[in-house]
Subunit: 330 residues, 4 copies
């Protein structure tokens, strides 16, 4: 299922090399000013074409196909889609029986009996995250004045990001990265204990992003080696502000008045220019695969705005559930 959310609900559709990718967004308050220009900044941040990213550069012009009237949202589902105009399927057609290591090819082939669209990963492609970024733009307006900001901290273990990317490209290889996301200004009390904990919902949404392999909140994995007296955040004011933020702003699954803070592990792009051992899915035989065509050598460079977007999608839903934002925009 590609639907997510309880009140602010999104449904993704499209494939990497199909005619369009897009998203349906239900539950947005009516009366919010919105036009195509609102999406420009975040779409630009996610865009390819810069060093370390794929040479397939789409215009990423959003079509607002429903839910807008006279420059404002109507309360009806918003549909936003993007054309795929720069896809080149020739390499995929020629290699459709080969399972690219690290990609979904083998799992998808088995799951869908070979009927999946193999071109560019089909419905599994990171191309679909353009719709998430669009939904995030709207979600951030709902979440405002709280602020959400995701940044790339390092790639390939280095904070000299340009240098690390150049080196990976020179070797025909790819590298991973670490993204940190902080949401400040949230009210206390979002989320529920157990299955609707803020951690559960954020993690659910973040792992929907292709290439994510880990998430930690606050001190996260470091808390494994801490004692309680080190890890506990001493509350210092009636607003809940604490001396440290090892909890990442969440206690008992609920926002506690401090910044929501989490880090996301992005694996290296699976497509590399170095030949790899794999199998032919039709014959089951071993083969050497030489992936050509265009791909990001460091997809982490483009993922921060997507992390920011899915964080906003979760928080918009929780704020609407918590009755802290009106259904009619003011």
């Amino acid at each position: 299922m590609t639907t997510f959310g309880r009140i602010f609900q999104v449904s993704l559709f499209g494939e990497s090399h199909g005619p369009h990718v897009g998203i349906v967004i239900d539950g947005c308050p009516a009366g919010m000013p919105l036009d195509e220009t609102d999406f420009a900044t975040d779409l630009e941040r996610r865009k390819s074409g810069k060093q370390g990213t794929t040479k397939r550069v789409e215009t990423d012009a959003p079509t607002l196909a429903s839910g807008i009237f006279n420059g404002r949202t109507t309360g009806a589902p918003l549909t936003i889609w993007f054309n795929n105009e720069q896809a080149d399927s020739s390499w995929y057609d020629a290699n459709k029986d080969m399972a690219r290591p690290g990609h979904s090819d083998f799992a998808a082939f088995k799951k869908f009996g070979g009927h999946n669209d193999y071109r560019g990963g089909g419905q599994f492609s990171g191309r679909l995250t353009v719709g998430l970024v669009a939904a995030g733009v709207i979600a951030k307006k709902i979440v405002s004045p709280a602020l959400i900001e995701a940044n790339l901290l390092e790639v390939g273990g280095s904070v000299d990001i340009q240098q690390a990317v150049r080196q990976a490209e020179a070797q025909g290889d790819s590298i991973g990265g670490l993204v940190e996301c902080i949401a400040s200004g949230l009210p206390v009390g979002l989320g529920e204990p157990f299955f609707d904990s803020v951690e559960s919902l954020i993690a659910h949404a973040v792992f929907a992003i292709p290439a994510v392999k880990g998430i930690e909140f606050g001190a996260g994995f470091a808390s494994v080696r801490m004692t309680g007296s080190q890890c506990n955040d001493s509350i210092r004011s009636a607003s809940g502000a604490s001396a440290t933020n090892h909890a990442g702003g969440i206690s008992g699954g609920i926002t506690n008045g401090n910044d929501l803070l989490f880090r996301v592990a992005i694996k290296p792009t699976s497509s590399i220019a170095i030949p790899q051992t794999t199998i032919n899915m039709k014959t089951g035989e071993q083969a050497i695969l030489d992936i050509q065509g265009r791909h990001d050598s460091c997809i982490a460079l483009r993922i921060a705005p997507v992390v920011e977007a899915v964080c906003a999608i979760v928080l918009a839903d929780l704020l609407l559930i918590a009755h802290l934002r009106p259904r009619i925009w003011k």
Copy 2:
């Protein structure tokens, strides 16, 4: 919301010091042999009373209140509850306005306007995980012959677990731990891309467990520092088996024929015997809090069976969705 799952669906209820805690389990196939003894092993693994765990020792005898007839499941919702017989609320009653650092007290007080049951954390308590373990017993039967096993790898940064626990107790402090969970024998093709990725669903369920602050699949955070040529798993057979398992058994969000593998970061128990700085929630004033009463000095010691249980709950749901198990037990 304390409900989770699409076809195999669980709903938690109860509080730490209320009369009962329990779970309603919908979607279990009819005809599965089941009685109270089936729960004994996993409940024992989670049980307190051993070194490093709380001195509140409940009998944890399950009451099967619905969904069973003639020793088999009927297809109706299963209700399983446990009595709380050993709760002692005196310390909580005396300190109900104090926000215990690291706990949900402050967030819950604000969220519920002070109406939350503050005794032992109320609905936020790890006590409720006894119901998850019970549901996991049933889920593991559905998942069988696939096997799920979670183990504690280290506590407080040490693999000498007994020694680390003794030291923390001697200091009146607490320590965290690292749990690893492996599911073997799963079919290829469970999960969906994007919002129903196996990572999304497992992470959602695992973060429902109190004290969890991080999760990583396969190489996880280490993949941040790997190159693609190191991280990609070369597929070596028609079953999908690969030379390495850096993906943790999931590609594109879908099981890929290798072991599902993830690690979970457990923070140190928040309750410690060392005085801490906090606030009085009613007055907003700073205060020093000296937590007495009984608590685990290393809750990680009891969490492996809970991680195993929620992993089983997710996989049972995915297997039923994938049509790989019948609705009528055979």
Copy 3:
């Protein structure tokens, strides 16, 4: 699935002759005063023992097992259960292979491979509606000051209800009935177009009640024979109040400021004292079945409070979604 609702969410459990029946209610605001006595009036309205109803008379004393503290709701899931103390399974044990006409026996036997609890209809029994009535009591508090009232209009085609029931009992037969439900004082704007229309949600919940075979809103089936100029309700004031209420208070799926009004068709109780032709489910052979034991000759006599309850459950959910009621009770 026996779970219903988006924010105010209920999960039913139990069987007619099992130890308990009950309900878990999630999403109730914290701070609502609540104790066992609040349920007395509505449970009494549903209770058996009066003429035309079964001689199985349960005490229907609710156990509030979670979600209550110091006489108020805590914001945690409420669990309410009832003991089954008066069940007599002897007739069912002796006739367990016989499909009682009009009942779920045959469908349940096939669906669950014979593992269903056949005693008194098991999980299909109207006995479970006691939990719905309990949830309705809470829902009506959320909906207040809007008022919901369901009444029995006629039984067996007669408004002389006592006489019709006496006659049916004298013949060992059963009769159906017609229930009308009116909710007044609702705000304009509840519901959504299409799948969350108020009609969709009310109908969904009402057809969950055993023995319901039809529902109509406002003029309902009579509108089939009306012209638009007769059927349209002329709006007469800025509140939306109209000269007539053929729409039953709903336009485009949304409450329109007039009374919500619908009628529900209740079929005659399936259990009758007259021998009937059916089959033996194990052998497939024809048989004559003589149902003994205790049953309602007119279940419609007890259904009005259940209709009222499920209407309240839907409206409580919609009011919480619409942000018209606080999450914290005041």
Copy 4:
């Protein structure tokens, strides 16, 4: 929310006078042959242009925007949209403050603070049912070899449908109608007791269709006046086939082996050419409204294929849940 279904899940979008209306369909098995021509027959049945229907005639050419590859479904969400090319908004722009009696105008204006798209009813329009019909085409393939057929039984109380429509048009008035839907060849055992009863799910989906005001299964409202001995269906064979079908093929909420049968009450089209009393929503003043422009004088003429479609959508979901159809098409 405009999303419906658990495994086979649809999400509607669009407005009457916006650029497009459409639907996203998730959960369709992979490998199903599908192209634009598959939709022609059902879209033609719903189409306007015949006597008694609106003169706004759209081409209704479906765009298959995702989920199809090489003429077969891929297992990814299917997106199907239709252009709105014949909308004329002039009358609506000139009368946007007037609440058309019987329509959603007043409720939508209040719900969305005046931000709703008022042209042709916006998101409330029957225009969106074109997407439901498209989804129904796919659902019927999943349900096959079971057959679903909906027919118009009468309009305005008459079986001479052409004559009744001519008369209504001559008077500038509109008339309602009665639609019957029958699904044959279904397996025993679809649905669940209580909230996922087949009646609950079908009623939920059918009331999503604009203009529906009632539904009854089998004997329905007539069963109110029957005795149990008349109403009970005697089971006559091991397949569940019964002598009569007063239950409409559903016992205890579950399909029982007989035809699923229900009837739907369609109110007269709200737009009529006769002046009506209403209010100006901005000023609250009384006004006489003379609706011009194009509309159906008997919308019931076009609703049978929509009823058939939503019935198929529900049954496809239940069949997939019941594991009676594979996720991979064969």
